[in-house]
Symmetry: C2
Subunit: 140 residues, 2 copies
Amino acid sequence: MPRGHCHRHGGERPCTCAMGNLYRFVEPVVLYVLEHNGPTYGYELGGNLQNHTLTDAEIDRGALYRTLQRLETMGHVTSDWDTSGSGPARHIYSITQSGKDHLREWAAVLNNLSQSMESFVRDVKSLGKVASDATTAGVN
Amino acid sequence: MPRGHCHRHGGERPCTCAMGNLYRFVEPVVLYVLEHNGPTYGYELGGNLQNHTLTDAEIDRGALYRTLQRLETMGHVTSDWDTSGSGPARHIYSITQSGKDHLREWAAVLNNLSQSMESFVRDVKSLGKVASDATTAGVN
DNA sequence: TCGCCATAGATGCGAATTACATCCAATTGC
DNA sequence: GCAATTGGATGTAATTCGCATCTATGGCGA
């Protein structure tokens, strides 16, 4: 199952699903939810996450857990075990100040990227304009 | 040299360099330049490309050549050898109709992605708003 | 009490991607 | 002749991805 092939929207066409989990996109979303919703554990995070993903793709649980581990080694989150509730113990993650800063940095990066994409999209739209302007003026 | 670590802008912070070549981002840019500037060969493409990249990262030549090969097997470009000029033979690539369609699909994807990012950035910006509104009203 | 299911965390692994290095060939300048 | 430049292409170690699988706890019915 090569990446680039989206089994959800089918076929060959590009779609953000085919872009994979891209943990670099998972990272900021995790940080955001942690700051917005407060401390929580991976399994629950997996649910709230899907409302904030940047791509159409669902976030893989494996990718999520590994992202949390990496964020912890980088000091952007801290974790504690919660054994109070019923069921298996929960790994509770909290965002640190460093994590909040990291999220702001991420926002700056995504802002740039977003604008680059926007301008690229504009460029593509105006591609055939000159040739077609003579025949179809005013068509968007 | 782990990904996620940008040797150009240094350090730990996220930057689109650290996002890698992401051939799925190289693909649309290559298609765009091919449609905008007309048929050309890889080496020259490598130059014009850098003005249109979506990220800060330079596009790796290896990635470029492999992208062109993949685009050809997908039928989005065709190629011919140009042995007329001086120097080594040039592999001239031209975009096909299928390639133009593909580029438009890419534009739609990037448009969506761009908007998702924009809205995410807004969300991050409004994160501490409620808490700080009491003390610093009107600060952007 | 045994088996089964849901929750929860975590890892294994083949395939894909990346980043960089390297190789090959032809031409130009010296 | 030979180094430098232009051009194309591949090799490869490290990393990431996507999916499957493993472990463990507790609830619940038979």
